[in-house]
Amino acid sequence: MAKRIDVSGLTAYYGPHKAIEDISMTVEPRSVTAFIGPSGCGKSTFLRTLNRMHEVTPGGRVEGKVLLDDEDLYGTGVDPVAVRRTIGMVFQRPNPFPTMSIYDNVVAGLRLNGRYRKSELDEIVEKSLKGANLWNEVKDRLNRPGSGLSGGQQQRLCIARAIAVEPQVLLMDEPCSALDPISTLAIEDLIGELKERFTIVIVTHNMQQAARVSDRTAFFNLAAVGQPGRLIEIDDTERIFSNPSVQATEDYISGRFG
């Protein structure tokens, strides 16, 4: 079910601008890996290279290797669409499809990709919404528009939509930054449950959140504005927050940064 990601020598560009440079790391299966670092250091860009969403941006291109259980995502002949079916993504701002009901939002990924029987879809909707801890709140109004939910519910709907296609890996780009503390807590609990089944990578600006939810933490930084972002270190979360091996990490975590 869950797979390991091996990144080696990855560099990503926006047109002529080099956004991140020479990043190598391993993301363990069935664990939560958090990316922390200052704004503009390339965390989100790096996350988007992991399911080939980076190249959707005009001018975006990538050098280097991303191995998903020994298969290079950037190898010749690899279909980015197939990659994205295997590696799901949850975005910073909740983005349910406005023309679709809650039900249709959850099965959007399946229905847009092929034919399913109604009974099959019903099952998947219930399973995914339960997986996203949203079932009890919406089970009586599955046919109402998804955009009528609160921000926190919308974000859980997006998570349900992402896990409905049964990906191997779930990438989350600051999933709680637009949410209040209670919704944030709901989603953090959810991440704890989801890591039993998926490999999870989460970008966050909230260091307490990284400390709470993740098993391993990667710290990104950039030398100066305009310079590409780099991976400073990656280690067990406990070690990063108690005794990091690089001084810059400690400065950032303790707030002595910049």
Binding site: N51, M53, V56, P58, V81, A82, V83, R84, R85, T86, G88, M89, F91, R93, N95, F97, P98, T99, A108, G109, L112, N113, R144, P145, S147, G148, C158, R161, A162, V165
Partner: protein, 359 residues
């Protein structure tokens, strides 16, 4: 805060003496009263100086309204309030200026057109009807307009929408720039020029004869840029996050466009298409050159001359008899009703298909 409070209770609560936030305010009915006085004065001046045109009366009343608002507010309140109210009254005055011609047009057409507009008029053609005869009808022209506009839409809408999709979703570099440039140029083509182009190309070079379809081809040229422009704007309004959300679910780009982007923008695209249809439904010049006009019913748009509503109006006007004028007014009313119904349908679809936010 104090503004809304004084707005709600303008007369019952006297201003607190020495308060910084309250000041003298005119009662809420004051602008309406000034408007009434201005209109009365405008009429009075018009009568006194024996001005024959009611337009002059109206303009005098409007000027008096703006001036009166400024003077009374400056006297009763203060200068900042006066400026605020003058701006408001100018906006109202411009609104009235814009609406009056429209209202007058619809009202005149209705008054002159409605008396001959009956079932007979809608179901008969002009076959064998002389200029001085009563009766006759518009049926052949309605058929012509429906068929020519329908055929033109059938060709122009797919081309226009697909072009817009190309420009917004795929277009990069020189080709997209060139397409945008030519669409812009096409927007400015006068209808007579597009008619002449089809006349030269379709009839003189390729040797086809006059037909409703030839007229449709000219209308296509007029319709495509309008459809492209409006669809492009609507597609640009679809948030990029929705495209990314769909792509991240492993949906191919073409399905993302078909199932996520287009449905989200559908309301606006439909409105744009309906407006484009309304625009070409009123074109006379291409019909004059390419469809030739025909007093009899011709249901076949591909063979032989047809009529159309705008052409019919022009034709009846040229005849110059009272009976023909009356028929022209009725046909104009039919054309306006046709365009209005299209617009209402477009609004309905836009509202029905708009992304729902209901909680």
């Amino acid at each position: 805060m104090s503004h809304t409070m004084t707005d709600q209770r303008p007369t019952t609560d006297p201003p607190v003496p020495g308060s910084v936030f309250t000041h003298r305010r005119m009662p809420r009915w004051a602008p309406a009263a000034i408007a009434v006085i201005a209109v009365a004065l405008g009429v009075a001046i018009g009568l006194a100086f024996d001005l024959s045109s009611h337009v002059q009366w109206g303009l005098i009343a409007l000027a008096l309204f703006v001036l009166g608002t400024y003077v009374t507010t400056a006297l009763l309140e203060d200068r900042r309030q006066a400026k605020d109210r003058v701006a408001t009254s100018l906006v109202w005055a411009c609104f009235v200026l814009a609406v009056v011609p429209l209202y007058s047009l619809v009202e005149t057409t209705f008054a002159k057109g409605v008396k001959d507009l009956d079932g007979r008029f809608l179901t008969h053609s002009m076959a064998g009807v002389l200029a001085t005869d009563e009766g006759g009808g518009v049926y052949h022209a309605i058929i012509g307009t429906l068929e020519q506009v329908g055929l033109a839409s059938l060709i122009a809408v797919p081309i226009g929408v697909l072009t817009a999709i190309y420009l917004v979703e795929y277009g990069r570099g020189k080709l997209a720039l060139a397409v945008t440039f030519f669409v812009d140029v096409m927007t400015g083509i006068p209808s007579i020029v597009s008619g002449l182009f089809i006349l030269a190309f379709w009839i003189l070079v390729l040797g086809f004869s006059y037909s409703g379809f030839a007229g449709s081809l000219a209308l296509v040229i007029l319709m495509i840029p309008v459809v492209v422009r409006s669809t492009e704007e609507m597609l640009k309004l679809v948030p990029n996050e929705l495209r990314e959300a769909s792509l991240a679910l492993g949906v191919p780009k073409w399905r993302t466009i078909l199932k996520v982007v287009l449905p989200t923008a559908l309301g606006g695209i439909t409105t744009g298409i309906m407006l484009a249809v309304a625009r070409i439904a009123g074109e006379t010049a291409p019909v004059l050159l390419l469809v030739f006009g025909n007093p009899m019913i011709n249901n076949d748009p591909f063979n032989g001359a047809q009529s159309s509503l705008p052409f019919y109006i022009y034709e009846q006007y040229l005849l110059g008899t009272d009976q023909a004028y009356s028929r022209a007014w009725s046909a104009a009313l039919v054309l306006i009703a046709f365009v209005m119904i299209l617009n209402l349908v477009a609004r309905g679809i836009a509202r029905w298909k708009a992304p729902k936010t209901g909680r």
